[in-house]
């Protein structure tokens, strides 16, 4: 059932830009339109492109913010989220926790 929703209405997470739009809804209380506009502006793409796997795959790899396949040497986990923090100009709790541990 959740997969039916993802296929029917979802932004497909890191296949495209679903995680980025979700982060803006949760971190800044942005409604869907505003969140998409914000992310699209930061990525320099159209809002329509945020659900386009063809565009987002290459862009995510270029920005090093995590892709769905295991690309050797690409940022994953905390490293990818640190790049997302810079890209979206937000703080992510797990990154803050990680930084506090290595300081």
């Amino acid at each position: 059932m959740p997969i039916s929703h993802i296929m029917a209405s979802g932004m497909t997470g890191i296949r495209a830009a679903g995680d980025l739009v979700a982060r803006m809804e949760f971190s800044k209380n942005m409604r869907i339109g505003e969140a998409k506009e914000y992310v699209a502006k930061k990525l320099n793409v159209d809002t329509m492109d945020l659900s386009d796997e063809h565009i987002m795959r290459e862009l995510r790899e270029e920005l090093d913010i995590g892709v769905i396949t295991s690309v050797p040497g690409a940022a994953k986990g905390i490293a990818a989220k640190m790049n997302i923090e810079k890209l979206l100009d937000i703080k992510i709790n797990s990154c803050e926790t990680f930084r506090a541990q290595i300081a």
Partner: protein, 355 residues
């Protein structure tokens, strides 16, 4: 010969309805929500659009390109490794594997970690284990990862908890004692959820998902709203989602208020502003499915309620669309045709910010 379209009953059984019957079911379902919630009916255009979605020939349908929304998840990893009691599919797997599977194989926009009981109270004795699991998952995950659990205030009453069961007290006409018991339980609910989330947030959780708020009535919602308020004051950056258990808050206590609003009897469009006032980032409204009614009736009713909630809310609304809510049939394997139609209608007509 009159053309009939394959729809579903609220229990998932296939039924065949004419266009005229579908339209009359939509009008009746929307009218029911409008009467109960004192909210506007769907407009003529919206009724036509909903009928069009329900009558689409394909088995699976989807939103128009560009209208996609983030999908959040309750129950989390228990979906894979849990038992049938949680609608889990019993695949032996670690919670890290389940989280990463959702992120990299299922295309989830967010995910959550949860305890196998999926209630806050039983997490207390094993919170260190939950923190350890959260740390490991956060090291590997990219999408927002919440800690999710149910407030489940019923666990604070005898025989499971310390306070006398208000149902038993009310049966003995001890109404004031029953109210006292609910108020004490709500205080403990607030205290426990805040304590658990302090630990989880220190372990890197992006935030919390309060799932099935108000399952034990208005005192359950009271305790949860106070927990949200406390967590927001402590952690301005914490992601907080507050999802409901049912469409209307049951007045088990009857007199509890939050921010000057009596909680008993609130409908989704009245609940959303309170979630925002308390400090939630996202609100999860619920509309229950009636198994004896058609999917046209149920979906029209759900869309009418949720559209009003989306309009009344100052924060994003991620509508609950699991088994038996949000126009989804009430069975563990809801048919794909019904799920995708409900999904599309909620985005395109109700205007939800997520699911």
């Amino acid at each position: 010969m009159v053309t009939e379209y394959a729809l579903r009953m609220g229990d998932g059984k296939r039924v065949f309805l004419t266009r005229e019957k579908i339209l009359s079911e939509i009008e009746a379902g929307s009218g029911n929500a409008a009467d109960l919630g004192e909210i506007p009916d769907l407009s003529a255009d919206e009724i036509d659009r909903l009928a069009e979605i329900l009558m689409m020939p394909g088995k699976a349908v989807s939103v128009e390109q560009g209208m996609e929304v983030p999908v959040t998840h309750d129950i989390g990893t228990i979906r894979l490794d849990g038992d049938q009691g949680n609608s889990g599919v019993g695949i032996p797997s670690s919670r890290l594997v389940s989280c990463m599977t959702h992120e990299r194989a299922f295309g989830a926009d967010t995910m959550e970690l949860g305890h196998i009981d999926y209630s806050f109270k039983p997490v207390k004795p094993v919170v260190a284990n939950e923190c350890q699991a959260m740390e490991v998952c956060q090291q590997n995950m990219i999408i927002p990862l919440f800690y999710g659990a149910m407030p489940n205030m019923g666990l604070y009453y005898t025989p499971d908890g310390p306070f006398e069961n208000p149902g038993d007290l009310m049966k003995a006409f001890k109404i004031d004692k029953a109210k006292d018991s609910m108020e004490h339980a709500a205080e403990h609910l607030t205290r426990d959820t805040v304590w658990v989330m302090q630990k989880l947030f220190a372990s890197g959780a992006d935030g919390v998902n309060f799932d099935t708020t108000a399952a034990a009535g208005d005192a359950d919602m009271y305790g949860t709203l106070n927990a949200v308020k406390t967590l927001r004051a402590l952690y301005p950056e914490m992601y907080i989602e507050m999802g409901m258990a049912g469409e209307m808050v049951l007045g088990m206590h009857g007199e509890l208020e939050y921010d000057g609003v009596r909680l008993a009897g609130l409908w989704p469009h009245e609940q959303a502003p309170l979630a925002a006032t308390a400090g939630a980032n996202v609100f999860g409204p619920v509309v229950n499915t009636n198994t004896s009614k058609t999917s046209a009736w149920n979906l029209a009713r759900a869309v009418t309620f949720i559209k009003a909630a989306v309009e009344a809310s100052s924060i994003p609304c991620h509508v609950n669309m699991g088994m038996g809510v949000g126009g989804i049939p009430m069975l563990e394997t809801p048919p794909v045709d019904a799920v995708t139609r409900a999904s599309k209608a909620m985005v395109e007509i109700a205007g939800v910010d997520g699911i």
